[in-house]
Point group: C2
């Protein structure tokens, strides 16, 4: 297949979206914007690119001006979140009403829904106030998009051939409206290209070295396939994206992904776009085995990652967080002499922790970590960031020392993710 | 003191900042932008408002156009993050060089630093490549801002009386440059107003009902004090902000904060701007007491929150994550008959879990949770979101049932934070 028969990125008209988030809470840094990332992912899956994201405060002129700029932009779809709460500082709805030339009126189905929520769901915790009733008022020029789980509905406006959709900023309400109204509506209205993704995760190699290693592969990629480097927590994910007519580009994506896998073989950690905790779950379910954790420095974070996956109760039995040395000794059975001789952060201690938790929880596999996350607790011999980890089953144990050089939060995250990687590799290779 | 003698928000010239984040990874939703929130918080503390945040991709025209728009904007300070990596898709540095009319040249101190990092810190894990050496090249029209912990330095440009600062997107590198160069530089250059904040957290009341309850207080606030509602995880934080000359506005802030505290007295959870895990640490340190957790449905997340605080090893001994019922029985000593009769998610089980972990970990206090986080595992009697929690010491135990109605992730977070609130209240009231 030659490149000529491929509809390339530039030949096909892209559908662009612009995301506007409204609310002082985003500008003062009180809230981290997770909505935009989620929306972008969902749009990408159906072939819509987000070309720009803008966050502005609850300031009349700023909102108006941003709407003006988006009317002039290259985006066909403008998604607006936030600014629809019941309190006085939320000025977005009346502004949208004026901007699109409408009048406010009570939307009876929404009012019925809001009343139902207050009567049957919120119950006596929250009385229905006038401000809540007002949430059922909408501009008469919009199409109302149902919000089954909250009081503020979504609203669809049109101008200059573009669609403007306003949604509340509460993540689960925004998600409900996107999934149930926005995505179906976009798919119906626009002729969208097929977008294909394939992602893998590498371990033990930095972004620059990886780029150097696969530069030939990258240089030989056809125009309709793009390679992206996505470094995350010390691992680098590589993603191939293709766009065009499905029948024409799908095979190419498969082929080049196989070549990419071959090119990074010795650094391969995960062959698809899933996290280590999901991979662990799959491996354990396949083998019908169980796991437990013994955590010191990660304080339960590994167990938290494992149990963030629905259905993890099938294979995760539990954890001992042995933060204090007395717990390492009394609950996990680490020898007092081991801690005295080698220290709590040592290969021997990690080894005995794994052994202990395997025994207590009666699991097939276990992982243990002991380290110094900072800012305090470091020494010249064992500086902050030093971690010993051990994985094992009843027959054998493997250990590993790692050093991280970040702040407490990131050291904890890196330790947990590397421990999961270590555990996955052990489980995968165990026969 | 009358309002006239106060320099109000509108009288005093505000210094505005604009944050531009560059990188496709933000627009495809692969990365959640935590940088902007952190930068906004740091700027707010010194009296700079962020009036707008814009995220754009690695697209030449988009970057150029956004720079043009920021030259025309009301912002005096433009902070740019991202787009400075070693790979080919990072086009920001040459673009900035052209935009500000400079030529690229090797910055020798940066090259020396990059070489040092590769030789002494990264060591053999990563060889020094040409692409890395290139990171030490900077436009000759910029002032270099040192990045001690990474390879890409910060760069300061000036145009039309505004300052433009470009930084790498890696959070800890960006933070290093902001703390060590950007904030001192802004404080030196601009006459900044004093900004005062006071924040409290309420529990057990929704945003609308709270707004209704304190509407008189809110209506009587002087112009230079603003009230913000910050709902988070089912708690509502209230923040008063004042701005002006320190000597003039500081007393007012104190006075109005005392009035606010009185107005929300029965719903008060935390009287200052700290999290429940920090409050818990303070209470336990004051009392010189210890704590442990027994977690089923939260899977270690409560322990993780507690240990996210530096110094928590002073009071946190450890945790048993008893995900499987066998662990509840065999490790925590919950009676088999209790689980058979009342179920794992029950008052009796939560009570025995607390008792068990207090015994095993020999702590003064403990908290236990058992619930159904979803999506599976619910029943008509105990639907998804049902949680039993217990807190106690050697003498007595208190229990509580809660119901959450969100997805798994959020149910886990809400359970953990409410359990910490329950624990804090118990510890505070215990004499």
């Amino acid at each position: 297949m030659t490149n000529e028969c491929i509809i390339s990125l530039s030949d096909m008209k892209n559908i662009n979206a612009l995301i506007i988030t409204i609310g002082d809470e985003l500008l003062i840094g009180q809230v981290i914007d997770t909505n935009s990332a989620w929306i972008a992912q969902e749009l990408n899956k159906i072939g819509v690119w987000v070309s720009r994201r803008v966050a502005i405060g609850d300031v009349y002129d700023d909102i108006w001006q941003t709407l003006d700029a988006s009317v002039e932009s290259d985006a066909e779809i403008i998604l607006i979140t936030g600014g629809l709460g019941p309190t006085n500082d939320d000025i977005t709805k009346p502004l949208l009403c004026k901007y699109f030339g409408g009048k406010m009126l009570m939307h009876e189905p929404t009012l019925a829904h809001v009343s139902y929520l207050f009567e049957h769901i919120f119950k006596r915790q929250m009385p229905l106030l006038d401000v809540n009733r007002k949430q059922a008022e909408v501009p008469d020029v919009c199409k109302v998009l149902k919000n089954d789980i909250g009081t503020a509905p979504g609203m669809l406006f049109e101008k200059n051939g573009k669609i403007f959709i306003s949604m509340p900023g509460v993540p689960q309400e925004m998600k409900f409206i996107v999934e149930n109204s926005v995505l179906p509506l976009i798919k119906e209205r626009f002729h969208l290209p097929y977008i294909g993704f394939k992602t893998l995760t590498t371990a033990g190699i930095g972004e620059s070295a990886l780029a150097d290693k696969i530069k030939d592969f990258e240089n030989n990629l056809p125009k309709h396939i793009k390679l992206a480097y996505l470094p995350n927590h010390g691992f680098v994910r590589l993603r191939l994206t293709t766009q065009g007519e499905k029948s024409e580009v799908e095979n190419d994506l498969e082929n080049y992904f196989e070549r990419l896998k071959a090119a990074v073989k010795e650094f391969m950690a995960i062959e698809e776009d899933i996290s280590f905790e999901i991979l662990l779950g799959r491996l354990l379910k396949e083998k019908n085995k169980t796991v437990s954790t013994a955590e010191s420095c990660t304080g339960g974070y590994i167990a938290h990652l494992i149990t963030s996956i629905a259905g993890s109760s099938d294979y995760f039995m539990g954890s001992v967080v042995s933060y204090d040395n007395s717990i390492k000794e009394n609950v996990l059975g680490v020898q007092q002499s081991t801690i005295e001789k080698d220290g709590a952060v040592s290969e021997a201690t990690a080894r005995e922790m794994v052994k202990g938790v395997l025994q207590i929880m009666q699991t097939d596999y276990a992982v243990a970590v002991s380290g110094i996350m900072g800012p305090g607790g470091g020494s010249s011999e064992k500086p902050v960031g030093t971690v010993w980890m051990a994985v094992g089953n009843k027959k054998r144990t493997e250990t590993k020392m790692m050093k991280f050089r970040f702040d407490r939060k990131r050291n904890i995250e890196l330790t947990a993710i590397n421990a999961l990687h270590f555990l996955c590799t052990f489980v995968k290779n165990d026969n």
